[in-house]
Subunit: 201 residues, 2 copies
DNA sequence: CCTACCGATCGGTAGG
DNA sequence: CCTACCGATCGGTAGG
């Protein structure tokens, strides 16, 4: 095997491990994944798994990066062509509900789970989760600001408030689906979003 | 020591252990608590801690029961004297925000954290969490139904939808406080609640 | 409620 | 990427 091929093989192995880590994390938590269980389910040795990343924290950070790429693909890429403002905001809401309904992560929203798990544990993992959610909040806020400027949203609800409430709705949909298996949760979310993002009278 | 006194002492020890388990769980998770760390921080032996409960799952179930008693004291008892319907619903909202702002649990809302942690792990712990949240939802729904009947809430938003959105708001306030240290989150929650629970025009 | 102890598993390393 | 191994800690038990 040429160096190029073994590099490719190494990258593929890394990708397989990270993918499995993301899936398991959404069910068992980012801290709940163990190198041993990961290795067994991938038919690898523990040393093979941990050798790729160095330590467990680096593996957790890699899983967060991969999860963010999945969000981009499953939500953002589907609405980025919409015009900034109310139209894109409504499209984001629909893409978000659809993403939750399709169970893109087997244990539900990866970032919501990671946020709840790490909000009391200072460190790089927590910072990565916080950074990702903050960035997403800024994206929502920017479109909400455009919508308010254009008169498409009531100015009494500021951009940050809109972003806050969209996130609230998504969190509750995720909880209802994951904890209670409530298949109607997505439509509850849509109803809440419709009222939040309604045109001024 | 008479049997009565040693029974009292045993009950007190149990209460100390459960209290510590609740506090630690809100930070490290219900699964993250370990019998060894609990024992060390209480100046007890591991066998002394686990002997009270039998196994870790029973300890987790005891922690959930204690957390529910705290919710009752910190939220429900403060509003139960209000007339059923819109008045009590608004009082619940304010008590809920106040409970979150006072950091009653050191790591944030115990049940929200436990729900996120156990929604992918079938068993008695998950069922206890689900039962507690369902019961709370029914309480909210009953007051919302009364409020709609009385014409104090728009009928187009059903009782279950109101309960769903109140929970959504509380979850987002908790996340903003715990993950981002956002002291303004409670007021964001109040603004969202005010709109949700506004009188029909 | 304690001491002493159990097998299993944890994250991680040495060396290839 | 593997085998072999490390000390630490896990939940839990025996016996008092």
């Amino acid at each position: 095997m040429s160096p190029r091929n073994s590099q490719t093989a190494a990258a593929e192995t890394r990708h397989r491990v990270v993918g499995e880590a993301v899936d398991r994390s959404s069910v068992e938590g980012l801290e709940g994944i163990t190198i041993g269980k990961l290795a067994t389910s991938l038919g690898m040795s523990k040393a093979g798994v941990i050798g790729i990343f160095g330590d467990k924290e680096q593996l957790q950070l890699a899983a967060i990066e991969e999860a963010i790429a999945i969000y981009r693909r499953e939500i953002w890429d589907k609405v980025s062509f919409e015009p900034a403002g109310i139209e894109r905001l409504r499209a984001v809401g629909e893409a978000w509900m659809s993403y939750l309904e399709r169970d893109v992560f087997p244990g539900g929203c990866f970032l919501t789970a990671a946020a709840a798990e790490f909000d009391g544990r200072p460190g790089r993992v927590r910072e990565a989760v916080e950074g990702a959610l903050s960035l997403w909040g800024s994206v929502l806020e920017a479109d909400a600001a455009k919508a308010i400027e254009a008169g498409d949203l009531d100015a009494s609800t500021g951009p940050a408030q809109v972003a806050f409430e969209m996130n609230a709705i998504a969190m509750a949909v995720n909880q209802a689906r994951q904890l209670r298996g409530d298949d109607a949760a997505g439509d509850r979310g849509r109803q809440a979003l419709a009222r939040l993002l309604a045109s001024p009278a």
